[in-house]
Symmetry: C2
């Protein structure tokens, strides 16, 4: 890792990275899931950048969101048109500085980007799991990540960092494996999925399941439920933006025309944008994975199993130092939800910093290059130095 | 009209009402549409309550929203389980007092509740119009309402009142027929459909058009695109509520179970609610009408044709007195959009009152019984008495 390649815009890239895979829970073992079911074997795809120090104390675990993958930074090959999804944050001298830290990102359980999910082969049948894949939760994703850490011989994580569904995993890490997590940065996330967020996910799922090509999940090898998945993604994209960002980005501008054409189809730019996003998504994502991961997000309620639903009790086991970040125009996981978690942390006398970043780009803001976020995260990580041996 | 029936909860009902129909633009005439196309004949269904005074100066025109109809108040027959959609507002002694005013509500052009729309028979073919129905706009709806007023011999309207898409019609009335409109109450509405609102409508339309039963609009007599329409309605319902109202109404409560069942289907109450709303809608509404009316809403930009998109110029012809009302938790047509129209009105030295009602119920709030709204509207109407002869 680290070989600089030419098309990095700001000259600081982790260079070429390689997707790796770790398989565990091989027969007769299984990963015990929160639902009571089990699954095995489980493969987790992961990537890393930077160099692990000899004491293994400079590990940062980056956790991705719904449709993300392990490819957080760098390029698989020099001719790749785009780097990983968080290349603006992860690299030499960047917010998460790969000159200092060994940064790991793994693909979540249930996804379709290298880790075991509904599109994987069920060893019991030799066919894709499809909807025989067991229901999974954020807890299950984190348990699989813990297996990967054990495999890599990592006992302490300097920081777990992630936004959105990745932020839910951050929180789960801190309450489930408190002794391992030195610090945590949950970004643009929530302690429990709201009725509004569940509602959007449910409509998106209904859209997939209404597509006749979905065929009760059994579409592998046949026509895929592309229309349903595209609509699901369009719904998602609306929730990732904001009224303000859509007004600034699209307003009422027309697409490739100077006057209304009075026909169905994408007359307005915002319609064209959503259709483009929907169509792009179906090329890379599996509809069943979308169903399972959105369900996992909906199930997420950090407090559910910790002391009768009390968030204060849920955090009582935590030993991590926290930096909680929300975005002013994020209406999917609004700032008040971050404040709720900060309040519960403070009641436990935890070391927590909170920042609401003033940004118009809605929920998606956490994925966009922003020097304020870079500075917040790099400063926070530097503040941990007395906890972590120098590299 | 006015025969009291037993099951009116607060004892003040307009009683039994009758749906009527007016047909115009009969061959060889046509109603000229904004798109440049024409349509004829056009039937408009309408209902009225109260008594028209001899000078015809006590007319109030109520304008309904997307999925509404002419049945604003009262009952068609004594055994009807529910009264009209705005029975809480329209009746003897109510906010719009049928002891004083003659209140008319007509079904909008393009709908499926008695007025000409895509499910109507195209005289040129003897078949339903389906997607041969011409594209319509808010202007076209209002032009058809004007024909109805002419037919009824009404030259002055004491007040045009409506919310949401009905509010758009209110605004259109005031700028298109300024000499006819004494006063206007646009509720929970906007002067131009935002990118966010267009986005939701477009995804809803995509959901209908992705349903194979839609069959490019030609589903009459066959299987209807029920799945697509139900999903479209679910999307709509999310936008009619608010984060707060959904939290209070549903939170994370489960539907008919005490623990998560880890299965697809409606586990959470909010999911069950949306599915119920979707399924209820398909029984009464035509999918093609949904497509056309949402397009009309998306096209709505009051300023477009008036002086280079200037809202101030658009209102410059208005002679009406205004009461503009928004709701604090309406994120579909947020308060800032109402303030924008109030500002443009004030720049024209118009007589305008503005009120933001503090309510948690989102966009739907304008349809819910609320004594504050009753008082605002009845007070506003009383203030017009010096303009209107006593009845």
């Amino acid at each position: 890792m680290g070989k600089a390649i030419e098309h990095d815009q700001d000259g600081s890239t982790v260079g070429i990275v390689e997707k790796q895979a770790f398989t565990f829970a091989e027969q007769p073992n299984e990963l015990a899931l929160e639902s009571g079911a089990g699954i095995g074997p489980v493969t987790i795809a992961y990537e890393s950048c930077g160099t692990l120090n000899k004491d293994k104390t400079n590990v940062i675990l980056v956790l991705h969101a719904l449709s993300g993958d392990s490819h957080m930074a760098g390029f698989y090959k020099p001719e790749d048109p785009k780097p990983g999804w968080w290349d603006s944050m992860v690299g030499p001298g960047k917010g998460i500085d790969t000159d200092k830290y060994f940064v790991i990102c793994s693909n979540i359980l249930g996804s379709c980007m290298g880790s075991t999910g509904p599109a994987s082969i069920n060893p019991a049948t030799g066919q894709e799991y499809a909807i025989d894949f067991p229901m999974i939760t954020i807890t299950d994703m984190v348990k699989a990540q813990k297996e990967l850490m054990d495999h890599l011989g990592i006992k302490k994580i300097l920081s777990v960092i992630g936004g959105s569904v990745g932020g839910m995993q951050v929180l789960e890490w801190c309450v489930r494996y408190p002794e391992m997590v030195v610090s945590a940065v949950p970004l643009a996330t929530t302690c429990r999925h709201s009725a509004l967020a569940i509602a959007f996910n449910e409509v998106a799922r209904q859209s997939i399941m209404a597509d006749p090509n979905w065929n009760n999940g059994g579409y592998y090898g046949g026509k895929k439920p592309d229309m349903g998945l595209a609509i699901a993604r369009m719904i998602g994209h609306i929730t990732y933006l904001s009224d303000e960002s859509m007004r600034l980005k699209f307003g009422r501008k027309l697409q490739n025309r100077s006057a209304l054409s009075f026909e169905f189809g994408a007359e307005f730019q915002v319609e064209s944008y959503l259709q483009y996003q929907g169509n792009k998504f179906i090329e890379r994502f599996d509809a069943n994975s979308f169903l399972y991961i959105t369900k996992a997000a909906d199930y997420f309620d950090l407090a559910r199993e910790y002391g009768k639903g009390s968030l204060v009790k849920a955090f009582s086991r935590c030993q991590s130092k926290f930096l909680v970040i929300s975005y002013s125009s994020d209406w999917l996981y609004p700032t008040y939800q971050s404040k709720e978690m900060v309040k519960a942390m403070k009641k436990n006398d935890m070391d927590v910093s909170f920042c609401e970043i003033d940004a118009q780009w809605g929920h998606d803001a956490f994925l966009l290059p922003d020097s304020r976020l870079d500075n917040l995260i790099s400063g926070f990580l530097r503040s941990l130095c007395h906890d972590a041996p120098a590299i």
